[in-house]
Amino acid sequence: MMRIPTHSSVSWAAATLLLVAGCGGPDSAGPPPTRVISVSAGDGQTAPVTTAVQLTARVTDPAGSPEAGVSVSWSVVSGGGSIPASSATDADGKASATLTLGQIAGSQRARATADGVGNTPADFTVTAVAGPATQLKKSTGDGQTGWAGSPLPLAYAVTVQDEFNNPVVGATVDWAVASGGGTLSVSSSLTGTSGAASTVHTLGAAGATQTVVATSTSVAAVSISFTSTATVGIRLTSSVGVPANYGLHDTFVRDGLAFLCVWDEGVFIYDVGNGMAGGTINLPRLVGSVKTAGGNAHNAWWYHSPGGSKQYLFVGEEGPGSVGSSSSGSIHVVDVSNLAAPVEVGSYTLAGAGAHNFWVDENAEILYAAFYNGGVVALDISGALPSDLASRELARIQPGGAGNTFVWGVMQYEGGDIFASDMVSGFWRLRYNGGSFSVVGGGNNVPERFTSDLWVQGGYGYTGGWGNRGIQPGNAVKVWQVGAGAPVLVDSVITSGITTVSDVQVSADGKLLVFSAENGPNAGLAVYSLAGSPSQPVFLARYLVSQGLHTATVETIGGQTYVFAARNPANPALMIFDITSLVP
């Protein structure tokens, strides 16, 4: 039978336990201390490992009077150093000892005690720091493979240490590209608490050995080499799906914002590096959107006026039409003062014709628009714009004449003449004379193909082809010399396995020719080099997209060259490609 203890028996047992614990524990009262020992000097010092530091303790009676001739015992509590076993107090009650610090950086402790002080010794803490730097070691980042012209994913890192492998903080590490070119994020850096210093290598051109050397003045005659390999090609960095509703047509990119023209879904504004919504090239973030009247949002231009206003976005509407003869659709004016909530405020309609691509002379505040069978129209876009821009029409021209005009795109060349690509009548040079257009030259110069997009830069023009004229498919990029008069055909780049070159652009540095292609096994993105000669493009790379790419916009963001391409349905999307590695 179990016995249940009574209240009194439990209390007695607890008291007994407390008494036993009190007798044996460190806080036992015991006999009262006859002396007091305390830290006098040396506590809290910082010194290099393995160096000597002086520690001093003081012994007094309980009343505080110094006691001379008392033997003080010293011991190392932690840190692995050494200290004499004892020393005697002087007339002031002080006893000293030399602590030789251990080899490991960090906190090291020593203790002083004496007879009669009871359980209250004097404890000293000394911070041991690394000694002089003697080692420079490779840490991370060596042996990577990356894209030429692009930063490597991992930084190169080295570690500076003393002879006992303790990290040396604050040591200077110098970085230099030894071969292969490229750039470094920093050429000199200080080691941190871990003793590490790093830099990021943006690789140079492919083909060369990519070597970076790290040195430190703290560690003479030692250098560390990092070697990586640069590859070239078209790299897909990210893609943004859009509703499968005729898909994405064109993308305008400026100030780190991408304006996606998504047909009846409207215009979507994405932060692709602007920062206003935290978006990046790798992770675009939606800022805002707007559905323009009539839908069919095809292309856009975010206008920055000479006065600095960024209020207006012009959106082209591509309505139904019969290629070569009829078209429809307006230019819509959208107020993007609040990019998160754009609102349409005006439009321009040309009766019997529809808008396609346009170009803005921002200094002169004139928008030049291709209007298919309507030709080319110049609009005054200065100041506050009315809801109907009919009164802002400055001039209009059908370069090929009625029945022979179906203008796909226009572009101003170096602030002067306007070039126009006409699906039916070819490549034209026009001049706006302040109130009227005139034909400078060209036209009726591509009889075997329908002409599509154009780009003019560096003394040369580039035009694409479209569909199938029955004679030849639109699988050519034609290269034109644009002197003072009519464009002169100097070369053609033929791509088998496509019928349409849907968009053409030259990179801002003039080194790359980029075009998108549709309809065929070689549809996708193509990049050519113009570095050798802008009149003779040299093939660099192709990225196949089975659905084809409707447009491709080249833009430089953060020193990298990107292409914003529109993948056709099904599964339409904005595809962002990094082509920096292809830059010669």
């Binding site: 591509e318 019969s322 003869s325 429809s328 569909g467």
Partner: protein, 404 residues
């Protein structure tokens, strides 16, 4: 087909209040065309229009089920050689129809002498003329997509009062994109049609139809809308003591708020001399031209990238044919060899960049078809696709009997 032959053609329930029939048919044919996209000629042998048709009725035909299963998805996946034909992403090829061509349930009632019906399921909207596979020629007319609206999720109400019949349909506007695809039911009701038919005298049928179809060529619904009109007159009376049939139809479809306008006139007739049928069809129809796929010039880009077309072409066709029943009429099996010759011409109809002379390397073509129509089951050639409820009962039940 062989399995079908072993089946009873008709099974009837007690007292005739319920019944079910099943039948099948198909055409083995060799087709030659002297014209092809990008030039040249072509010849193909195919089994076309392989179908199973099933009917069931209950409650003295007050409740009816009509279905047609089409197997063209497997026999002509790349289409049937038909220069001028187009639709559902095929060009110069007649496209395969969807597997479930129609599956409709109808309720039919009477109010005095007035007959009323409500039909629902997948099938034809009340618009235009009968499906070409139920008519004379093997060659599908170019106007197939101007004169019929089919393979939709549809609800049709009908009323037959004396010699006049009116029908109204609600349906989804989108055309199928491939044979196994179901109608986009999310779009049910975005389109409608109405058909008025009169039977003023014995053997004469007059018809007029209207339809408003939302975005037929873009399944998601962003395409242009179509407004469709159709009118026809049909005559079915003996001529010289032999069965005679004639049809004249006109159709017009406008699209993009009138930016595109396509019209068609078609006339056809047949004359049965015993087991031998002589027939002729004339057609003049406009069709849109679209960008074609690089590797398949008989296919156009789907889904569309925009609302533009390359132009409009005018197709004029004359087709004559002769067929003969090898088996006695009234049996459960039928064999009908036939030969059919078409003369086709094409021209550009208005401006546009499409030049048919360049594309086809010519503008005038011949077509010859030799075939054998096989049918099993008593309803193999009396089945009328797209006719539900009162429309299935309305006089006269014309029997062109699929005399290819």
């Amino acid at each position: 087909m062989l399995i079908l032959a072993a089946l009873p053609a008709t099974v009837r329930g007690q007292g005739g209040s319920t019944s079910a029939t099943i039948a099948g048919r198909g055409i083995v044919t060799g087709i030659y065309s002297s014209g092809e996209p990008l030039g040249g000629d072509a010849f193909q042998v195919r089994l076309v229009q392989p179908m199973l048709m099933a009917h069931a009725t209950a409650y003295n035909r007050a409740l009816r089920v009509t279905s047609t299963i089409n197997f063209e998805a497997w026999t002509i996946p790349d289409g049937e050689l038909t220069i001028g034909g187009w639709g559902e992403g095929f060009v110069d090829r007649r496209h395969p129809h969807t597997v479930i061509h129609e599956l409709m349930v109808s309720g039919v009632g009477h109010l005095g002498s007035t007959e009323l019906s409500l039909s629902g399921g997948k099938g034809f909207a009340a618009f235009g003329s009968d499906d070409p596979s139920d008519r004379l020629t093997l060659r599908y007319p170019v106007n197939h997509h101007w004169s019929q609206i089919l393979e939709r999720a549809v609800l049709t109400g009908g009323i037959l009062v004396g010699p006049v019949m009116a029908e109204v349909s609600l349906f989804n506007g989108d055309e199928p994109e491939y044979p196994q695809q179901s109608p986009n039911v999310d779009r049910f009701g975005d389109s409608w049609s109405a058909r008025l038919t009169a039977f003023p005298v014995q053997g004469l049928q007059l018809e007029a139809s209207y339809a408003a179809v939302h975005s037929p060529e873009h399944r998601a619904g962003s395409g242009t809308d179509q407004t469709k009109w159709h009118a026809s007159a049909q005559w079915t009376r003996p001529l010289g003591g032999h069965p005679f049939y004639a049809l004249a139809e006109w159709a017009e479809t406008t699209e993009g708020d009138g930016l595109f306008r396509f019209d068609s006139f078609l006339a056809e007739m047949s004359w049965d001399l015993g087991p031998t049928r002589l027939y002729y069809q004339f057609e003049s129809t406009k069709r849109p031209e679209e960008e074609r796929i690089f590797a398949q010039p008989t296919r156009s880009v789907r889904p569309h990238l925009e609302d533009a077309i390359l132009g409009t072409t005018q197709w004029t066709l004359n087709t004559v044919g002769i067929g003969r029943d090898l088996l006695a009429d009234g049996g459960v099996a039928r064999l009908r060899p036939f030969v059919e010759v078409s003369y086709v011409s094409v021209s550009a109809a208005g401006p546009g960049v499409f030049d048919p002379a360049l594309w086809y390397d010519g503008t005038r073509f011949w077509g010859v078809s030799l075939g054998l129509t096989v049918g099993l089951g008593r309803t193999a050639f009396t089945h009328k696709m797209g006719r539900y409820g009162v429309s299935a009962d309305a006089p006269p039940r014309v029997s062109t009997s699929h005399q290819h």
